[in-house]
């Protein structure tokens, strides 16, 4: 059965503290302050929001250390930052700077097309994206203390976030119905560590918090993924690509807390100004999809 050490307890513990909250992408200290004032429970520092990465192309790397430090100084909430998939040197740098959570993220250009970072030895906790249960359990096996469904970052389209959350929760439900001798074949099929498959089959949930990301642009989007089983939400381009970021940020925070109260979600949705312009994922060239990065 899957067990973990005290360090992992602290890593998962911080993720527990973020539950029911909104983690917002920010590119500078000023945006971080707006996010904190709106009620964000954490901010994610990155060089460009995913919508701009998508538009401008080029190699997307870890954010500037100077900017990350300015953000850490500007707010009292936990600060996360993204490292490229497999780029353990970026992760070492982020840990050294004192970042509270490292996102090994498909939004940045991968540094390794076979291996993810071995996350156990770090004192800093890691969050990783996943599209299905196998991917989630591989990341947890590598030491991730939080999973976020990938969705399609920078699209402003919730369809992929929904697909991934449904995939993970229904695969977990299925696992709880299997007999003991069926678990090894299932672990082989999922490409996931057997101990973790067994853990999920007995508990019906992931052993680490499960958040949602990638395409959340409105209060109703946040309510939707929370009702589908997300325990908190990441909002990337959705806030600072909208017409009134502070107002929208506040509305999404409130809708996340009251996700199962339609009257309040309705109130949050009123007079918000324009949401970010979204992309039709179905018409997207598969090569342009960020979610397929990660192995």
């Amino acid at each position: 059965m899957w067990e973990y050490d005290q360090q992992m307890k602290l890593k998962i513990g911080l993720a527990e503290m973020l539950k029911g909250g909104v983690i917002m992408d920010v590119t500078n200290a000023e945006q971080a302050k707006i996010a904190e004032d709106a009620g964000a429970c954490s901010v994610m520092a990155l060089e460009r929001v995913p919508a701009d990465i998508r538009k401008e192309g080029g190699v997307a790397r870890m954010a500037s250390i100077r900017v990350i430090k300015e953000i850490m100084k500007a707010v009292t909430i936990p600060v996360m930052a993204k490292a490229r998939i497999g780029h353990f040197a970026e992760a070492q740098v982020l840990e050294n700077v004192g970042v509270d959570y490292i996102d090994e993220s498909e939004v940045l250009t991968p540094a390794d097309e076979e291996h993810h970072i071995h996350k156990w030895p770090y004192k800093a906790p890691f969050v990783c994206g996943a599209r299905n249960l196998g991917e989630a359990l591989r990341r947890i096996g590598e030491g991730a203390a939080m999973i976020r469904t990938k969705g399609e970052a920078g699209s402003g389209n919730i369809v992929e976030a929904v697909r991934h959350m449904r995939a993970i929760t229904s695969e977990m439900r299925l696992l709880t119905t299997l007999r003991e001798e069926e678990l090894m074949a299932k672990a082989k099929e999922l490409g996931a560590p057997f101990d973790l498959v067994k853990w999920v089959s007995q508990n019906g949930k992931l052993p680490v918090p499960n958040f949602s990301a990638g395409g959340i642009a409105t209060p109703a989007d946040a309510s939707l993924v929370m009702q589908l089983g997300a325990e908190a939400v990441f909002v990337g381009s959705g806030i600072f690509k909208s017409s009134d970021p502070a107002k929208r940020a506040k509305a999404i925070v409130r809708a996340t807390t009251h996700y199962n109260e339609p009257a309040i979600v309705a109130e949050c949705s009123e007079e918000l100004g324009e949401a970010m312009r979204g992309l039709d994922v179905a018409k997207m060239d598969p090569k342009e999809m960020l979610q397929t990065r990660g192995w």
Binding site: L10, L14, E16, M17, G20, G39, D100, A124, V253, T257
Partner: protein, 196 residues
């Protein structure tokens, strides 16, 4: 008074690890109810303020009159227990930086006083009046209680610092008993509901 009715514990659920407190109360076998609105105070006998981010919680507390409801509840001599962020909310004075608070307890609390997440730690602390054994204490970006008023009793210490304090029916911990399997601190709090 003296009624045999089962006591119901409210858990503030605007943001944070309220579900971990609920899981703890389930293990002990005590009914609980999530509190998100002023109306949710109806029918609860005690209140838990969980861990999480105080800046986020304060948005909900100040804008929707929840803060007034919590203060009235505490003034009515009902038991309130805050862990980490919850302890910060309960303090009379908050440092690093100064911020709004409920001011229920005569303590001064410094936020993020141990440092960032990489400075978080698990310690064995002593609470001699609560338990003969050392208690596992999980500190996550934890605050430090810098001053305790005359009415406040220090029940627990870790690394020489007060980490569990009590003032009448109020209890505050800078660590997270809800993240461990140890029910001691929650059971101690539940004792406070016996005569109310």
């Amino acid at each position: 008074m003296g009624s045999k009715k089962e006591k119901v514990i409210g858990i503030l659920a605007v943001q944070g690890d309220f579900a971990m407190h609920a899981a703890m109360l389930d293990r002990i076998g005590v009914p609980w109810k999530l509190v998100k609105h002023v109306e949710d105070f109806e029918g609860i006998d005690a209140l838990i303020l969980p861990g999480g981010e105080t800046t986020t919680m304060l948005k909900f507390l100040t804008e929707r009159k929840l803060a007034d409801a919590i203060k009235a509840f505490a003034n009515d001599n009902k038991p309130v227990f805050g862990t980490c962020a919850g302890a910060i909310l309960m303090a009379k004075e908050v440092l690093n930086p100064e911020q709004e608070r409920l001011g229920l307890m005569d303590i001064s609390v410094e936020r993020n006083a141990y440092g960032r997440q990489i400075d978080s730690s698990v310690q064995q602390g002593e609470c001699p009046e609560v338990s003969d054994e050392p208690i596992e204490m999980v500190f996550i970006r934890a605050p430090i209680i810098r001053r305790v008023g005359k009415e406040v009793k220090v029940l627990g210490r870790s690394q020489g610092l007060p980490v569990l304090v009590e003032q009448g029916k109020l209890l505050a911990a800078t660590f997270h008993p809800e993240l461990t399997g140890d029910e001691t601190i929650h059971r101690y709090f539940l004792e406070k509901t016996k005569d109310c």
